[in-house]
Amino acid sequence: MSVEQNKATLRHMYDEVWNKGNISVVAELASPDYHFGEYKGPEGWGQIVTMIRSAFPDLKYTIDQVVGEGDTLAYRISGEGTHKGKYGDLEPTGKKVQWTQMLFSEFKDGKIVTTISLAGGLDLYQQAEEHNKEVTRRTLEDVINKEDVSLIPELFDANYVHRGPGGQEIKGHDGWREKVKMMRTAFPDIRYTIDELVSEGDKVVCRHSSIGTHKGEYAGIAPTGKQVTMSGMFINRFEGGKVVETWGVSNPLLLYQQLGITPPAG
């Protein structure tokens, strides 16, 4: 088969198999001797496609460049898709990701017999970590600072739990709506600043400070009109691209001192 015929086969494979998930076409395009790592035969190839497409159900590959010599095609492709299923050991982030691959496929009798594939695999992890940082940033800057509680379901999992140092918990979307309402009532001009964000795997660590004027009742304390600054840290854990758990610490004693009142006993 000629290089041009092999290219036509390759394009057909990307249109039908990868981009549409039409696994039944694999048998026409893959040699019975097909092998890629431990995956053998057209069936093994079908498994790879199913695996990738379940991680990225809206997967779309674009062939950016393809050249051929003898029985080999070398090609560069761009992939994009929404990360909705587990990919390797990376939990779904819900984030739309893009990556680049370079591949070398060997053909036999017009069918693909093996492929060498290199991917910018690091990008996926980086993009997921960037996504988690961005979500964390929005929980403070958009939800609290701008009081946009409509974003809560987009940023927090329905099973969300916030764990504080004394065992107190804030649960679910309603818990967050309450928290925002309570803070905005006590400190209507409250403004959080993110001092540091560190992302690794499915966790984000955030160090923050905030400033606000005490104009409403806070934890049973009548408004003092004083401006207070606070700082704290928390860790967000992510599942499916949303925050599912937070461990947070702050220093309430500092708040009481600034309000000029005696902290409640106990």
């Binding site: 460049q65 050249v67 680049t100 370079m102 560190v198 690794e200």
Partner: protein, 140 residues
């Protein structure tokens, strides 16, 4: 220039420039408008100045070698893939030497103009590389 001449030029580029870090024949091998699209880098690297921004393997792995496993040429394009191997005995991107041996796979495409490298696209298996050194990849 035919594809065989281009392949010979590319072999020299890998041997002299990338493996040995020797830039003395740069103008003989590389077109003055050369642009390298390094996958994952924020911007394309332009010409000799761009090449100097990429840390030479000579620095972080002085014993390093870059092998070419396969070349595929058609028209003015050559695609290739291979491995770079070495021992991490020098600082790499702020990471102190680990003394560990690594094998890093790469693939690249080059477009030639008048027998010289005019444009390139390259990617490395960075994740595998970091894993072999036993370190956490830096966040983006």
């Amino acid at each position: 220039m035919g594809t065989e001449e281009n392949k010979a030029t590319l072999r020299r580029y890998y041997e002299e420039v990338l493996s040995k870090g020797d830039l003395s024949n740069w103008n003989e091998l590389v077109d003055e408008g050369y642009v390298m699209h390094l996958i994952g880098a924020p911007q394309p690297l332009k010409g000799l100045e761009g090449a100097k921004q990429v840390q030479s393997q000579k620095v972080f792995a002085p014993d390093g070698k870059i092998s070419i496993d396969e070349m595929v040429a058609e028209g003015d394009i050559i695609a290739l893939h291979g491995k770079s191997t070495g021992t991490h005995t020098g600082e790499y991107q702020g990471i102190q030497p680990t003394g560990k041996k690594f094998t890093r796979e790469y693939a690249a495409f080059y477009r030639f103009k008048d027998g010289k490298l005019a444009e390139g696209w390259a990617l490395h298996d960075l994740l595998g590389f970091y894993q072999q050194l036993g370190i956490t990849p830096p966040a983006g």
